[in-house]
Each structure stands twice: as structure tokens, then as C-alpha cells.
């Protein structure tokens, strides 16, 4: 059976499954729509959280980031898992005890202020919308590459599927489809990884393959081999290359960790379990399901890189016949060339491919002596590493079909979670909380469904007309969540004296310095040509201690903490009933079932 028919069958079957679940798990009340009636088993919630959390970026992009950044990409591995430790110990149990529906609702009540709630809603929408655009793009790309539809058709099919189960089932429908999506995506990720690890190291467990020896009988370890292969061609040594400086890696990791703990679509998942104790164990289970993918990714990244290098450089560097002849390249090479994600240019006209680091002066000198005229792989998009991996490793077509279904599952599950966070902020925090507090349960349920429709339409619009900033969006979402939401949630629980003035000032200060630093490099609201307005004489990128814009959320969070504490010391302490509320959320006893108010 050819690849595209097979892919249609596998992807079609998973979509039917999601729709079947949606019909079975319809939501009948606002409690079911926002928090699945608080009746989700902690292990099931852990699995749904893992799917919610692992987006197209985790599934498709991360292994590629690791493949080309080596040790430097550790910031993603530690950052996107270590945040769960913070979530489990500092936020999830207390927010579950509080027992309401949304994150802004907690901020509004804890800081006895509609203003604080509104600021939180704005931060939430900014972070979630920027994040959801990336998912929509991923869906469109996966469809157009593997199902031979246009990008737009792919996007509409994806929107249609999310529409069915998110509008019908709300959190309840999303939870159970996310569980199914997790199972699809984890098989899709680990099956090729096992094959590749077996091929290269002879060990079926990728985690052991990573620290194992080559299966070619040379007795050399996989990592030493990879380091040798890349340094021979002038690239940085894989196992030691840094991302920016050490300080930048440190700060970047902090940003990703607290950004993870502060992302509202992840936090609200912990509102769905029956008890406080369940929220604690559920966070641990979520990390188990995430760790299965995250501990596999370093093996996938390193072995994909090794495979790619060995495919092109087939023998000792410098020997005339040791470079792959373009005419004899494997089929996947041509397939990906067609998509524009892989580009080859025969600079020295020898019909062979030279892939090396021509920016490295030592290597460039050597290459000249070989008669090479520059690196001929002019583009190797990191996103193709996971999608092309099964082809590069020569795996059967059904594996490729499953990988496509897995990528779609990752993008759909995250998109649905984000859309729910946006829709509930609009219907519960803005419509019920601010505009019309007397709205009936039925009216609010209708409003939440309409908000969901609106959120899907908005996401679809941005998917069709991606704004200029689409590329950097995920990192920006983390920066925003890290610098605004995480600090106020944490202080709301651990600092009884934190008051309204402090929280609002902290959020605004944190998000402002972060946005300023980002806009200074990328343009005001990412509009090209506006960056110069914010730059001063002698401005250089990453001017603040060499910290990159993606890593700056941690500095924003620090500003948030400092401003909030200073302002709260200078103003009146929170009223007694708020201090009582804080004491109440600190103990599990008395956590009821879902309560609207």
C-alpha cells in the first residue's frame, strides 16, 4: 500500500476515535465544561496533562533542536520537565483547594480586585493566543506534506475536529480525547526511536542507546562517534556545545521552568481531579508520561544527527569518493527538497554533496584544499528531523503513517487545551465575572460554547495569516507566563501579606520589562522596522549580561517579585478575610466538589 493511502487510513481512524469520544463525553453543565465535573482520576489527568502540555514543538521540533544544539538543548529538556516539580509543590494542590474554574478567578479573589483579574485575563490571552498559532501552523504543515492537501485545507480539517469535541464536550470532551491523543503520540514517538536505537547501538531502549556503544563492532561509544563525526566537519563538539553562554543557559532554564508552571492551560488541568491529594499525585503522573518522551528525545536527536551526517559523508573527510553523489541520494532527500525544508546547491560542480561548517576558518581552509567551495547543504530545517527520521532510518511506511498521526495528535491536544483556557477566561472571567454576574448556568454554558467558537475562529485566522512573529511565538508565550502569572500565583499562596497593589504592580512591571526587551530586538508588537525606536546608541542584541530574548522571562519574573514585595510593604496589608482565605487554601481539609461560587 502506498504511503499516502496508509496515512489517510491511520489518521482517519484516529480522527474517528476523537469524534466518538466527543459524542460520548458531552458536557451538560458549566462545571463539566470548565473542569470536567472535577471527577477525573489522577492518573488519567496525568495522561491528559501530558498530551495537553506536549505540543507540536515537543513532538516535532525538540528532537531537531537537540540534534543541532547538542548539549546546549539541555535547557529545553530540563526546563520543560523541571517546571512540573514547581507546579506540583508550589501551585497545583493549593489552586485545587481554592476550587474554582480559572486562573484569573483565583488572582481576582486572592487580591480582592477585578483589576487584578482583568490584568491576569490579558496576560493569559496574550500567552495562550501566541502559543495556539504555532499549533495551527503545525497541523497545516503536517497535512500538506503527508496527505497531499493544501495548507489551508489541512488547517480547516484540523479546526473542524477541534470544533467538534471542544465545543460539544468542553473540558470533559477535551480530557478524554487528550488521553487517546497521548497514547497515539507516545507510540508514534517511541516506535521509530526503538528501531533507530537498535540500528545504531543494538540496544532497543533509546535511553540506554544514548549511553551505549556503536553496533558496528568498532567498540566506540555512540556519543564519542558523534562528537568525532561532527568535529571532523568543523561543527562544534556535540556533547559540550553551549547555547549562548553558561549564564544564558542557566537563565533560559529558569524561564522555561517557571513559564511551564505558570501556563494557565496546564494549571487548569489540575482543577479537574476530585481532591487536593490527587492534584499532587496527578502532577507526578503527568511528569511520568512526559518523561517517557523527554528521556527518549536526546537519543532521537543525537542518533538522527549521526544518521544524517553518515548518509552524506560516507567515508573519511577529504577523500574524493567519500561524499554522497547527489544522483544516488536516497528518496527522502528528494522528497524533503520538494518541501523547501532541505536545500542543496552544488557549489563546486562535482555532483557530490559536501556538508560541513564553512564558518569555521580552520575547516574552511582544509575544505579549500579538498576542492570544496562552501557548504552545499544550504538549508537543513531542524523540524524535519522527527518527521524524516523513519525515512532516513529506512523504516516501513506504516511507521511513517503513525508518526504523522502522532504529530497531529500533539498539535490538536495542545490547541484544544489552549482554546479552552481562552474560552473560559472570556466566558467565566469577563462575561460572568465582570459584565453580567447574574447570568444563568444555561446562559453561561452557551456563552462558553460561543467563546470557544470565537477562539477557534481567531486561531484559524492567525493560522491562515500568520503574523510576522509566528516563528518566535512559543518562546514568547513562556516569557509572558513566567514574568506575569507564576510570581503572583506563588506569592498569593506563600506570602500572606501580599496585597492587591503589590500583585498588580508586580504583574505589570514583570510583563512590561519582558516585552520591552523582546520588542527591542524583534520590533514593537513584532512589526518589522519598529525595533530601532526602542534602541539606544550602541545597542547590541542580548545586551543584558548576554541573555537572549527567549531566556529573559526569568529576569521579568525577578522584577515582578521585587516590585510586588516592595510595593506591598509600602501599602496596607490585605484585609482579614483574605488572610483567612490564604490560611484556608494551605490545608487540604474541606476541599469540596466543583463549586460555581
Amino acid at each position: 500500500m502506498d504511503l499516502s493511502t496508509l496515512t489517510y487510513i491511520v489518521v482517519g481512524a484516529t480522527f474517528l476515535l476523537y469524534i466518538g469520544i466527543a459524542i460520548w463525553a458531552r458536557a451538560g453543565s458549566t462545571g463539566e465544561f470548565y473542569v470536567a465535573g472535577k471527577g477525573v482520576h489522577p492518573v488519567a489527568n496525568g495522561m491528559a496533562t501530558a498530551a495537553d502540555w506536549m505540543s507540536a514543538a515537543s513532538f516535532i521540533s525538540m528532537a531537531g533542536l537537540i540534534a543541532f544544539n547538542g548539549y546546549g538543548a539541555s535547557v529545553f529538556l530540563m526546563g520543560w520537565t523541571g517546571g512540573y516539580v514547581l507546579l506540583a509543590m508550589l501551585l497545583a494542590p493549593y489552586l485545587r483547594k481554592f476550587g474554582k474554574f480559572t486562573v484569573p478567578e483565583f488572582i481576582g479573589e486572592r487580591f480582592y480586585s477585578k483589576g487584578a483579574r482583568l490584568v491576569a485575563v490579558i496576560c493569559l490571552i496574550l500567552a495562550s493566543v501566541t502559543y495556539v498559532i504555532g499549533q495551527m501552523k503545525g497541523i497545516g504543515v503536517a497535512f500538506s506534506r503527508f496527505l497531499e492537501t493544501s495548507y489551508e485545507q489541512g488547517l480547516f480539517i484540523g479546526m473542524g475536529i477541534v470544533f467538534i469535541y471542544a465545543v460539544l464536550g468542553g473540558m470533559k470532551g477535551i480530557t478524554y480525547t487528550q488521553i487517546a491523543q497521548y497514547i497515539v503520540l507516545i507510540f508514534a514517538y517511541t516506535i521509530p526511536a526503538v528501531f533507530i536505537s537498535l540500528n545504531i547501538t543494538g540496544n532497543p531502549l533509546p535511553q540506554l542507546g544514548l549511553i551505549g556503544t556503536m553496533a558496528d563492532g568498532s567498540g566506540i561509544s555512540m556519543m564519542d562517534k558523534l562528537d568525532m563525526v561532527v568535529t571532523d566537519l568543523g561543527f562544534k563538539e556535540y556533547s559540550t556545545q553551549l547555547m549562548g553562554s553558561k549564564l544564558n543557559m542557566f537563565v533560559y532554564t529558569v524561564s522555561l521552568m517557571i513559564g511551564t508552571a505558570g501556563l494557565p492551560h496546564v494549571i487548569i488541568r489540575f482543577f479537574t481531579v476530585p481532591k487536593v491529594a490527587d492534584a499532587r499525585s496527578s502532577a507526578a503522573w503527568a511528569l511520568v508520561f512526559i518523561a517517557i518522551l523527554y528521556t527518549t528525545a536526546p537519543a532521537v536527536g543525537s542518533m538522527a544527527r549521526l544518521n544524517l551526517m553518515n548518509t552524506i559523508q560516507t567515508g573519511p573527510v577529504g577523500e574524493a569518493t567519500a561524499n554522497l553523489e547527489y544522483a544516488k541520494a536516497p528518496q527522502w532527500f528528494y522528497n524533503w527538497e520538494k518541501t523547501g525544508l532541505l536545500k542543496y546547491e552544488d557549489k563546486n560542480g562535482d555532483g557530490r554533496i559536501q556538508y560541513y561548517n564553512d564558518k569555521n576558518p580552520e575547516m574552511a581552509a582544509k575544505a579549500e584544499a579538498f576542492g570544496w567551495k562552501g557548504n552545499e547543504m544550504t538549508k537543513v530545517d531542524r523540524d524535519i528531523m522527527v518527521l524524516a527520521n523513519p525515512e532516513i532510518a529506512g523504516l516501513p511506511n506504516w511507521v511513517i503513517a503513525i508518526v504523522v498521526a502522532g504529530g497531529l495528535a500533539a498539535a490538536l491536544s495542545t490547541a484544544a487545551g489552549l482554546l479552552l483556557a481562552i474560552a473560559s477566561a472570556v466566558s467565566h472571567d469577563v462575561i460572568k465575572g465582570m459584565i453580567n454576574p447574574d447570568i444563568s448556568e444555561k446562559g453561561e454554558l452557551m456563552a462558553s460554547r460561543l467563546s470557544m467558537v470565537g477562539a477557534i475562529a481567531l486561531a484559524g485566522y492567525f493560522g491562515l495569516h500568520p503574523p510576522g512573529f509566528a516563528a518566535g511565538t512559543v518562546a514568547i508565550a513562556f516569557g509572558l507566563a513566567a514574568s506575569s502569572i507564576f510570581p503572583v500565583l506563588m506569592m498569593g499562596i506563600f506570602n500572606k501579606g501580599m496585597n492587591r497593589q503589590g500583585a498588580i504592580a508586580g504583574m505589570i512591571a514583570g510583563i512590561s520589562v519582558t516585552m520591552f526587551y523582546v520588542f527591542q530586538e524583534k520590533g514593537i508588537l513584532f512589526i518589522p522596522g519598529t525595533a530601532e525606536i526602542l534602541q539606544w546608541e550602541g545597542y547590541t542584541k542580548s545586551w543584558f549580561m548576554g541573555i537572549s530574548v527567549n531566556a529573559f522571562g526569568a529576569i521579568g519574573a525577578l522584577v515582578n517579585f521585587i516590585v510586588a514585595i516592595v510595593v506591598s510593604k509600602m501599602t496596607a496589608p490585605p484585609p482579614q478575610h483574605i488572610q483567612d482565605l490564604v490560611e484556608d487554601i494551605r490545608v487540604p481539609k474541606g476541599a469540596g466538589a466543583a463549586s460555581a461560587h
Partner: protein, 84 residues
């Protein structure tokens, strides 16, 4: 805050502080700050610093989360503040 609740909170904060120190040491400590010296020690074919940064710290995070959940259940019972 009554005496019992405040003792429960102190015990909770002490537990979380200890666990977060471990969290910091395995990721920021072993994985970033001390990565080079640790790389002199090999675990299989990779340096220990590299391994902590890409695999080891995640295993420790998992252990921390489960240990925290079970210890908190004990504290809940000990101070009589559990939900059931």
C-alpha cells in the same frame, strides 16, 4: 492561624525546601554549573554532566514529585487535615 495548622504549614515548607534544593542541585548544579568537571566521570559512553542535563535530572524530578505526594499524605494524616 491556629497552632496545628501553622505547624502543618511549617512542616510542609520545610519538606518543599529540602526537595527544591535537590531539584536545583541535579539540574542547575550537575547539569549546568558543574557539567565540565562531572563530564570527566563517564556513565556508559557519555559524561556525567551531560547525562544529568539530558536524562538524569528528569529521573530525579520524577522521584521528587512522587516522594512529595506520599510525604504530604503522611503529613495530612499526622496533623488531621486530610480530606477524608
Amino acid at each position: 492561624m491556629d497552632n496545628n495548622a501553622s505547624k502543618y504549614w511549617q512542616a510542609n515548607v520545610r519538606l518543599v525546601s529540602i526537595l527544591l534544593v535537590i531539584w536545583f542541585v541535579v539540574s542547575y548544579g550537575f547539569g549546568i554549573i558543574l557539567a565540565e568537571p562531572l563530564n570527566a566521570i563517564k556513565i556508559g559512553g557519555v559524561g556525567l554532566g551531560f547525562w544529568f542535563a539530558q536524562n538524569g535530572s528528569i529521573y530525579v524530578f520524577l522521584g521528587l514529585c512522587f516522594y512529595y505526594a506520599s510525604q504530604m499524605n503522611k503529613l495530612d494524616k499526622q496533623f488531621g487535615v486530610s480530606e477524608d
